[in-house]
């Protein structure tokens, strides 16, 4: 309950804003209304404040500089158009670019896949066909073994010589450039045969020399 004896003008002024907001308790509201009936000063404050709120809340109280709306519209138009333009220019070339990228990637992947597959099969053919005891060179840290003098040897000053069989066992794979002739099985076989024949001839010759010497 609000004590009417102690309820004076200061109390009313303190609550007058909340009163106008409709934010005071029913008992306080009743006491204030009772007070307004008898107090001209507080009624003056109430009605004056009400006038203030009502007039200032009027849309006409907000004055904007001349041309404000026009400038705003222009700036919005520029920006909203710009954002659409950005998007449309994006989308305009995004599709062909993406398509081209996909095609390129596809072709590249296919090529590299088939190339890798072809390389692997050629390497396997070389490994099958190469004479196991043929001297080849490798350099440490590299992956391939080569014929001595191949242009594609890495770290030429660090090469060591070993047999093809050893090189394969150590994990080296054949160089497709200098050992290409062993890809073609028949050619390789022919080659091998020829080499073997040559070696045999050499051996025979040695034997002959040795035999001849005896």
């Amino acid at each position: 309950m609000v004590d009417n004896q102690a309820f004076n003008c200061e109390h009313v002024w303190r609550e007058i804003s909340n009163y106008l907001e409709g934010e005071v308790e029913p008992t306080l509201r009743a006491a204030m209304e009772e007070h307004f009936r008898t107090c001209k000063r507080c009624t003056s404050v109430l009605e004056g404040t009400r006038n203030v709120i009502r007039l200032y809340s009027d849309e006409r109280m907000i004055e904007v500089p001349t041309g404000f709306g026009r400038r705003l519209e222009k700036r919005l138009a520029q920006n909203t158009r710009a954002s659409r333009k950005r998007w449309s220019s994006w989308s305009a070339w995004l599709v062909p670019v993406a398509a081209l990228a996909l095609i390129t990637a596809g072709v590249w992947l296919t090529n590299s896949w088939t190339a890798a597959r072809r390389d692997r099969s050629q390497m396997a053919a070389i490994e099958r066909n190469i004479p196991p005891d043929m001297k080849v060179v490798v350099s440490d840290g590299a992956k391939l073994f080569h014929v001595a003098g191949c242009d594609y040897i890495h770290n030429k000053d660090k090469v060591r010589t070993l047999t093809a069989k050893e090189a394969i066992r150590e994990g080296y794979t054949p160089c497709l450039r200098c050992l290409r002739k062993y890809v073609d099985t028949t050619a390789a076989i022919g080659h091998t045969t020829l080499d073997s024949e040559a070696e045999a001839r050499d051996a025979d010759a040695k034997d002959e020399q040795q035999g001849g010497g005896q």
Partner: protein, 219 residues
């Protein structure tokens, strides 16, 4: 008391047209954005002006705020009032601008003053209601604007957001980053001070050409 509350305009809820515009702009129909914000351009400007007190800055910030609202339109949720959302963005932009430009050195001093002390009205003349038609007159609007400009910043901001921009107390508190209690205290003081300023203006003949009965003050 319904009559007492009637003075505090509660803005109409969002129209179907507004909801439709929001949805369409959110879907990318950018050209409709100006139609959506046009009804609020004056309020957005007034919010910026209340904080910056400089017409050029206020216009720039108002435009920036509306562009920012456009950029973030997809984040707007239908539960909120679009006008409130727009004004809160504006207040935020304006406060950031002011902080950046450090124009508050002078006004910062009176912020330290105790705001809890009661404000006692000074003028108790008889009242009468001022008709809204009075606002058709430029000099009346001018005098009201001058009185508002005389308020300290913290009172002016709360008054503009609550009584001119129609934000509620909670929204005003959130926009300015102050407590609800502070909003209420400042609002009371702003309203009472404006009333006294205008009553004094009445004595000085500010409103002498208004068609009122002699001796009756509107404030």
């Amino acid at each position: 008391m319904a009559e007492a509350n009637a003075v505090l305009n509660n803005p109409e809820p969002a129209t179907t047209r507004e909801q439709e515009l929001i949805a369409r702009v959110q879907r990318g129909e950018n050209d409709l954005y100006y139609e959506l914000v046009r009804p609020y351009e004056r309020r957005v400007y007034a919010a910026a002006l209340a904080i910056l007190r400089n017409e050029t800055d206020a216009e720039d910030v108002a435009q920036e705020a509306m562009l920012k609202a456009f950029a973030n339109i997809r984040q707007f949720r239908a539960e909120a009032r679009f006008s409130t959302w727009l004004i809160q963005i504006t207040v935020n932009e304006a406060l950031m601008r002011r902080r950046r430009e450090r124009t508050v050195v002078m006004e910062g001093i009176d912020d330290r003053r105790e705001e809890e002390s009661d404000y006692a009205p000074r003028d108790f003349a008889d009242w009468r209601e001022i008709p809204s038609e009075a606002l058709e007159r430029k000099e009346v609007r001018q005098k009201l604007a001058e009185a508002l400009a005389m308020l300290d910043r913290k009172y002016r901001e709360v008054f503009v957001l609550r009584d001119m921009e129609q934000l509620n107390i909670q929204e005003t508190a959130e926009a300015l980053g102050i407590s609800v209690a502070s909003v209420k205290t400042r609002l009371l003081r702003a309203r009472l001070m404006l009333r006294d300023l205008l009553a004094a203006g009445w004595d000085k003949g500010w409103f002498s050409r208004l068609p009122f009965e002699k001796g009756a003050k509107p404030w």
